[in-house]
């Protein structure tokens, strides 16, 4: 059975559906990119996948012995975080909170896990620095390390490169690709179609037309051709 199977899913707010009848599945090791215009419901889809909001109808089936809270999440930054006085280590460690249950403090394993993930993201040297004083790229690495503390299997990324400069963007994409090679399933929302077709194994396009398939199928499809052309035109 697939890791996530989405059946006849309709999403939206207050029972008003934005997207209707989505069907797709995500298998272990996939790199799925969700693309679409602004307001097409990408973030709503992600929130529904994370059980932060209820679907209007349809269901999300979880397989491969994945527990509901084993999904790591890289959200878009909130205003609260911009001036939050917290050290890098405190934030990364807070990713282990889901494992704690009612236990008030972190144990040795969790502290080690946080250290390992800081090492993995190359931010060990920043461990005592204040989060709000870091660059945008460094902040994203901190949040990615925190997400890795919460999961070993699936990562959901909400526009991980928005606001980053080209160099930091390239580094972020290669970090994510490395994690995918290590066997972590990636589900990513992106505006950047060029990067999506370069890195992803599967593409879900939502909006006026809905498409789901592998990258190669997307390149051949009408929706894909149109969208790619449009973006190239926009950049030229």
């Amino acid at each position: 059975m697939a890791l996530l199977t989405i059946q006849n899913l309709s999403l939206g707010y207050d029972s008003h559906a934005i997207v209707e009848n989505l069907n797709f599945s995500v298998n272990t090791g996939d790199y799925l990119c969700i693309v679409g215009e602004n307001g097409s419901g990408k973030t709503t889809l992600m929130k529904t996948l994370l059980h932060l909001q209820e679907p209007v109808s349809g269901q999300i089936l979880i397989g491969d012995r994945l527990k509901k809270n084993e999904i790591g999440y890289l959200p878009q930054q909130t205003i609260v975080q911009k001036d939050f006085p917290a050290s890098v280590r405190e934030i990364v460690l807070s990713g282990c909170q889901g494992r704690c249950g009612l236990r008030p403090f972190y144990n040795k394993n969790e502290k080690q896990l946080a250290e390992d993930n800081m090492e993995r993201m190359g931010i060990s040297a920043l461990r005592n620095r204040c989060y709000r004083e870091l660059s945008g790229g460094q902040q994203q690495r901190v949040l990615l390390a925190r997400a890795l503390c919460a999961t070993r299997k699936v990562l959901l990324l909400d526009e991980p490169v928005s606001g980053l400069d080209p160099k930091a963007t390239a580094e972020m994409y290669s970090l994510i690709a490395d994690l995918n090679h290590e066997g972590i399933t990636i589900i990513m929302i992106s505006h950047d179609i060029a990067a999506a077709v370069r890195y992803a194994s599967h593409i879900l396009h939502i909006g006026t037309t809905v498409f789901y398939g592998t990258r190669d199928e997307y390149m051949e499809s009408d929706a894909g051709k149109f969208f790619l052309m449009q973006q190239k035109g926009g950049e030229a």
């Binding site: 059980h51 527990k67 809270n69 975080q81 006085p85 917290a86 990713g95 620095r129 999961t151």
Partner: protein, 281 residues
């Protein structure tokens, strides 16, 4: 001057005031950091006006123990304000302003229409500014306040990591299996209890100062959550202690003196923060 102080400390009501003042300052500063970061700086003001409204209802109903009415109403308001968190339809600041102004107006209205007291403006003034009530505490009230304060400190200590996670990123916590709603509820209840306690000390209008000044001062000086929390607790206790001592010696109102000391401490921290920041760069 020390003789005068020693003389005053002979009186039990002065010792009670010191104990209660320091405990309330400690409790309010612990959650202050979370509230300031969640953009709920004015919740102290809002909830204390709710408590004021509830007190005027209790006064009109001639309840002997108004805590029975004030505490539940304040807790419910705190839950309504904080429960919705990041996803509210009416955002934090507007919701607080609505509740605060509404409750104040209703409280005054009810007191005005039904009041049995001859000194109405005096009653209102003492409820809002706390005037002398901290100097008229009974032993029973001191015990109640001590027990509740210890409970608040223990809860905060045990849930420190969870409060951090939920404050920093509510959606992430929810998505990864932390029961964020339950912890928001807990925070709301604790805050309501602290505010009802603090009304005895500084009165409705000055509670916000106790909640936000130590937190903001500490945030000038430190760059991680644990240090900020500890620093704000220590600062708050020192300021409350100094404020009460000064008010006894100089004969000034207790509440406003404590807040004045808090403001002075903020100014010192602000300048110190600028100097330290300059050195670091």
């Amino acid at each position: 001057m020390l003789d005068k102080l020693a003389l005053y400390l002979e009186y039990p009501f002065v010792r009670y005031a010191l104990i209660v003042g320091v405990l309330i300052a400690l409790c309010s500063s612990l959650l202050g950091v979370t509230l300031v970061l969640k953009r709920f700086s004015f919740i102290g003001d809002g909830l204390s006006h709710v408590a004021f409204g509830a007190m005027s209802i209790a006064a009109v109903l001639n309840l002997t123990n108004d805590m029975m009415l004030v505490l539940p109403i304040t807790i419910i308001s705190a839950i309504l304000l904080l429960r919705t968190g990041q996803n509210a339809k009416i955002k934090g600041d507007a919701a607080i302003a609505m509740i605060s102004v509404g409750a104040l107006a209703f409280g005054y209205l009810i007191m005005n229409i039904f009041s049995t007291s001859s000194n109405l403006s005096g009653d209102v003034c003492s409820t809002l500014f706390g005037s002398t009530s901290i100097l008229t505490l009974t032993q029973k009230e001191v015990w109640l306040c001590t027990v509740l304060s210890i409970a608040v400190v223990i809860i905060f200590f045990l849930f420190y990591n969870k409060i951090f996670a939920v404050t920093f990123d509510e959606n992430f916590s929810k998505a990864t299996g932390t029961n964020a709603n339950a912890y928001n509820l807990l925070i709301a209840i604790v805050i309501a209890v602290i505010i009802v306690l603090a009304m005895n000390l500084v009165g409705s209008l000055l509670i916000s100062a106790l909640v936000i000044f130590p937190a903001l001062s500490a945030m000038r000086l430190f760059r991680n959550f644990r240090a900020v929390t500890i620093c704000s607790a220590v600062l708050s206790v020192i300021c409350a202690f100094l404020g009460i001592i000064i008010s006894i010696l100089a004969g000034t109102p207790v509440g406003s003196t404590i807040v004045a000391v808090d403001v002075a401490a903020f100014a010192v921290c602000y300048i110190a923060g600028m100097i330290m920041g300059g050195v670091r760069k």
